[in-house]
């Protein structure tokens, strides 16, 4: 759809991208019943940083992801990637979705080579070599001929990471990617993901509803307010890198967690009250 956007993603300095959201608003519904999901939200995802967004459930995180990915457009405000306005989906931003979005009728390898081969920006041999390298890196070399349904949940997420990486995006957008995994796989995936990030330092936006996950991964933690959603507060997480799980039991991590929990709790309470009011109004 947007083949023009393709070329820039192959530039060498593509882990230095900045993503900027300026006064974004998004309202759903019609003139009879409007619901403001996002209101005047501004945030910056710094280059080569892992920015994590947390927010109370139902606060419009997925709406935000859809806007950044270009699947949806804001009613007001603009989204800039390296100062260029985003209007449509493009391979300069790759989204890893909540549940797997691997294409069921393609093998793991076919899924990975899908994007580059569609665009034809590299030869099929180059793409396949790169795909094999990435699949090896995510530990799926032996599973490349398998269909997604034959992979475990954790493997599917890694396959998806490989599929996103081969497109060499400027920004990686992770929309609660480890949700639905069992605790063990989730922890392994977090560890794998943090290593991957520390290695390639690609600008990264990670959306989650788990505070521990957020603190473990983040350089910057952005806490969203309740609906209508905007940025409630920003915490810089200054835990050293490379990260490991022991850091989560350090006093600093505990302090971050306490602070974030407090804010989230406040926001969640607002949502409770709002639901009370609306149900009272409905009666």
């Amino acid at each position: 759809m947007n083949t023009q956007q393709t070329n820039q993603s192959n530039l060498p300095s593509d882990n230095k991208a900045t993503l900027e959201l300026r006064n974004i608003s998004r309202t759903f519904g019609d003139e009879w019943e409007r619901e403001e999901i996002i209101k005047d939200l501004s945030l910056t995802v710094n280059p080569s940083q892992l920015t994590v967004i947390v927010g109370p459930s139902g606060c419009g995180k997925s709406t935000l992801v859809n806007l950044i990915a270009g699947f949806d457009r804001p009613d007001a405000g603009e989204i800039l990637l390296n100062s260029k306005k985003i209007t449509d989906p493009g391979n300069d931003r790759m989204v890893v979705f909540q549940e797997t979005a691997l294409i069921p009728w393609q093998t793991t390898l076919e899924n990975v080579v899908f994007g580059p081969n569609l665009r034809g920006d590299r030869t099929a041999e180059e793409v396949e070599a790169e795909a094999n390298r990435l699949l090896d890196k995510v530990g799926l070399a032996e599973f490349k001929e398998k269909y997604p349904i034959q992979l475990s949940g954790g493997m599917q997420r890694r396959a998806e990471l490989a599929r996103a990486m081969i497109n060499n995006p400027l920004v990686m957008i992770m929309d609660e990617p480890f949700r639905g995994l069992d605790a063990m796989s989730r922890e392994l995936m977090q560890e794998f993901f943090v290593r991957l990030f520390e290695e390639n330092q690609k600008t990264n936006l990670f959306v989650t509803s788990e505070i521990e996950e957020a603190i473990y991964l983040a350089d910057r933690l952005i806490i969203l307010s309740n609906r209508p959603t905007s940025v409630r507060s920003i915490i810089d997480i200054e835990l050293p890198r490379p990260r490991d799980f022991h850091m989560l039991s350090s006093p600093e991590a505990y302090e971050y967690k306490r602070e974030a929990m407090e804010i989230l709790h406040e926001e969640a309470m607002k949502s409770f009250h709002r639901e009370d009011n609306s149900s009272a109004a409905a009666e």
Partner: protein, 294 residues
Amino acid sequence: MTQAAQDTIAPHKPGSSGVSNTPKKRSKILKALSSDTFWRGVVSLIGFVVFWEICSRMKQWTGVEVPWIGKVPPPTEVLEAWTEIFWLPGYWESWYLSTGRVFAGFIAAMLLGIPFGLCLAVNRYFHDIFFPPFEVLRPIPPLAWVPASIVFWPTTELSIAFVTFLGAFFTIVINVLGGAKSIDIRFLRAAQSMGASQWDLFRKIILPGTLPSIFTGAAVGMGITWEVVLAGEMISGGGQQGGGGLGFFIWSSYMGGTVAQVIVGMISIGIAGYLSSSLIRYLGSISMPWRRLF
């Protein structure tokens, strides 16, 4: 006429579907032979035939008639009738004629139904314009089309083919439409963000994503075409014995008073239907390798 025909068919339905399990061993020979499922099926079929034989002959042996089944000739008599007509070209001609009609109608329905269903799914304007009349025509049973069809088409053959086509067409369209609509939006979005054009989305996501529904629609549609063809043949008749397809074969056997032959016709239809749906399942499994893994 049809009512009478259905009355005689109805009590024996279990017979035709039970016997139709036998060809299973031909398709997956070795694997099937060693599976419990296969042997359970064999035992169940033998049990069924023995039960039928005993019930049919009960009056002869004890003077007490078993309700319903007692009126039916026993399997040995049916087999005898079958071996007699097995060598007659007329019997095979019935097979040939019915199969030809089923496939003519079915293939036409697939050729028109799949693109039509896909267009309904992907284009809003197309959907807005063509869906309402489609939905009005869809509930009309294929057999209600018979008189109109005879008026529309110059030959009986074409009328039967048209009614057969209608039987499968609506089912296929509805399945294709439903299947294409239910494709998970994440696949479309993922493909879109990787740079897929509209044509790529159609070719790589919508079409393969709809395949399972296409085959479901085909399997159901195939069943309906057999029903419709046989009913059509009973109504339209044929030149002489065996000249009008399996439906007419049953009808003329009934009129001629050989109930054993009626049952032969019914079992033949069971086998024909089973072979047709096996063929569709087989085509489905080779064209959708990712579905074989469930």
